[in-house]
């Protein structure tokens, strides 16, 4: 037996394992570090003012009430527009067109849209909504976010409907139910938890999106619920405030970043819990 070869192989193996462990520690440690800094800086600025006052002019105190409201309005509207479209399209792919060529193509394109740069969506909505209307508006922002919601919802809806066992559909068909009825009252019901998860993940995805809002909803220093006018949103305000030279604004940017991160993490964890509780082990 060649001892030196054996030793060399062992050494190489040790090194690989060491680097593997080191990479994991560095990778995870890095990400934990980012979260730690975020918590530290963000909680430093949390006070009741954040949730009760408007964004301040430079050099004075204030809160984030109007961007929080704006984010909620636009996210809500985007989900209202995007979810039905996504669920219906996903339904076609999993039910009517399960074996159709269209479905393969749509799935491929949808997967691409799922990871396409979001700033492109902003440019697209600017071209088709903001430029013709002549002004920035919250509605355009919501539509831009809806364009991002649709692929996420399609993906999960299709996946979840495909998991519904066929005997359920066959049993319903044997009772004489029409196809649409089977889908709405049997398949949807069986896949409900999964579809809800998809919507939650979509909300998590869009609540931190900045790029599509920059030139659709723009930003607004003041309280506004007018859908036809520019509206503030948390990400856009963070962008503006973080790049400003004013300490108060930078502090608010950190706090806003903390609020978004906590919201996104909570949504993702809830989404996981919803699927985990329904999936038979």
């Amino acid at each position: 037996m060649d001892i030196s070869l054996y030793r060399r192989r062992r050494r190489r193996n040790w090194m690989a394992q060491f680097f593997s462990l080191a990479a994991t520690l560095v990778g995870l440690g890095w990400l934990v570090l980012i979260l730690a800094v975020l918590l530290w800086e963000g909680f430093g600025g949390v006070s009741s003012k954040v949730f009760t006052e408007m964004t301040p002019p430079p050099g004075s105190d204030g809160g984030l009430l109007n961007p929080i409201l704006g984010s909620l309005i636009m996210t809500g509207l985007a989900v209202l527009i995007g979810t039905p479209v996504g669920i219906l399209a996903g339904t076609y792919m999993a039910e009517y067109g399960r074996y159709a060529r269209t479905t393969t193509v749509v799935r491929f394109i949808n997967d691409i849209l799922l990871s396409a740069p979001s700033i492109i969506v902003g440019l697209f909505i600017y071209e088709v909504m903001v430029a013709p209307m002549g002004h920035f508006s919250a509605l355009a922002g919501a539509v831009a976010l809806a364009v991002i919601v649709v692929p996420v919802v399609i993906r999960t809806t299709e996946d979840m409907l495909l998991l519904v066992p066929n005997p359920l559909r066959e049993a319903a068909a044997a009772l004489g139910m029409p196809r649409a009825y089977i889908i709405r009252h049997v398949a949807y019901r069986a896949a409900k938890a999964g579809i809800v998860t998809g919507v939650l993940l979509a909300i998590a995805r869009i609540s931190g999106e900045t790029a599509p809002l920059l030139f659709t909803a723009l930003n607004n220093q003041f309280w506004s619920t007018n859908l036809n006018a520019p509206m503030a949103s948390l990400p856009a305000v963070i962008f503006q405030f973080a790049l400003s030279p004013y300490a108060e604004w930078q502090k608010l940017a950190w706090t806003g970043a903390l609020i978004i991160t906590l919201a996104v993490l909570t949504l993702s964890i809830v989404a996981r819990a919803v699927t985990a509780s329904r999936r038979p082990s």
């Binding site: 399209a89 700033i119 697209f124 071209e127």
Partner: protein
């Protein structure tokens, strides 16, 4: 009497015949089917609309500058002369730095998760990685601006400049004053951002390797590293490349994290410590301030270029991942 009246009323309500009910059901069924079909086709329409809208928007710039748009560096809003070379260069260089760092680390983390990690720890780490993949990019941006860039400026960049100052080629790569923000910083932030994507997809494909294959290799006396290098990696090659390309797609189009730390300078500097710009950062920084049709149109043309690049990368990525799925299904 009351009973009779009631009977009469009931009789007057038209009870639909069996045929009518069936027709109504069939109509409702068809309507629902067409509705879902239309929505599915809408996805294709959406992609088409995006491409057409961007193309129409960028026509003035493309018509004015022609092919030169891709090949010139000048970017001057005052004289209305625009060229996309600097942002394209910045996009490619930042993504290259990001992939050079994130790919080896991501693969090693995935190897740890599938081969070395104790079983009870696998799920928590995997979930943590996936949660981190969902953190919005603006968070990475603000961290990069306030924490990472000052740190690089104070500690890492002077070191790089000192160490490589005398080495022929590397000295120009790491030249210049340590700004903190710049191409290298943007590349590093991107690396941190795409790491969770690469890790989670590689982990998925590594886990799909049949245990029999690995066990036979172990049975022959292979070490863990040899099994990973000679069995797992070759078996999952296509999937891993797909995952890497997916990460690359993210890195190319990433906007907010880069915009904060790139410095937005429209010139190609040989040093990666110098400020630069990327396509997405240029659009994010300048679009709302752009006055004049040509300026706006040039920015949209940049967007079109970015979309074209990412479409190709993402399509290749999806195609490769699809091949893996088919093989698993078969």
């Amino acid at each position: 009497m009351a009973d009779a009246a009631l009977g009469q009323e009931v009789a007057e309500v038209a009870i639909p015949t069996r045929a009518q009910v069936l027709v109504r059901m069939r109509l409702a069924d068809k309507a629902f089917q067409y509705l879902t079909h239309a929505m599915a086709l809408g996805v294709l329409g959406l992609l088409g609309c995006i491409i057409i809208a961007l193309f129409i928007g960028s026509l003035p710039a493309l018509r004015t500058f022609g092919f030169d748009f891709l090949l010139t560096q000048r970017w001057n809003p005052v004289t209305d002369k625009f060229g996309a070379l600097a942002p394209i260069y910045g996009t490619i260089v930042t993504s290259a730095i990001a992939m050079a760092i994130a790919v080896p680390i991501g693969l090693l983390v995935a190897m740890f998760l599938t081969e070395l990690c104790p079983l009870w720890l696998r799920r928590p780490i995997a979930i943590a990685v996936e949660l981190l993949a969902g953190i919005p990019s603006i968070i990475y941006g603000i961290w990069g601006l306030f924490v990472f860039a000052p740190f690089l400026q104070a500690h890492v960049q002077p070191l790089l400049i000192d160490v490589f100052g005398e080495v022929p080629i590397l000295s120009s790569l790491f030249a210049g004053p340590p700004y903190g923000i710049g191409t290298l910083t943007a590349g590093l932030i991107l690396a941190i951002m795409v790491l969770p994507f690469i890790t989670s997809i590689s982990r998925d494909v590594f886990e799909a390797v049949p245990a029999v294959l690995k066990e036979s290799a172990y049975g022959l006396g292979c070490t863990t590293w040899e099994v990973f290098r000679n069995v797992v990696l070759p078996y999952t090659r296509v999937g891993v490349i797909g995952g890497i390309m997916l990460g690359l797609g993210r890195a190319l189009g990433e906007t907010m994290a880069v915009t904060f730390v790139i410095g937005n300078a429209h010139k190609i500097a040989p040093s990666i410590l110098a400020p630069g710009t990327t396509i997405s950062a240029t659009i994010a920084n300048e679009f709302t301030e752009a006055v004049g049709d040509l300026y706006t149109s040039s920015l949209i043309a940049l967007g079109l270029i970015l979309f074209a690049i990412t479409l190709v990368v993402l399509a290749l990525a999806r195609y490769m991942l699809l091949r893996v799925e088919r093989r698993l299904g078969a």
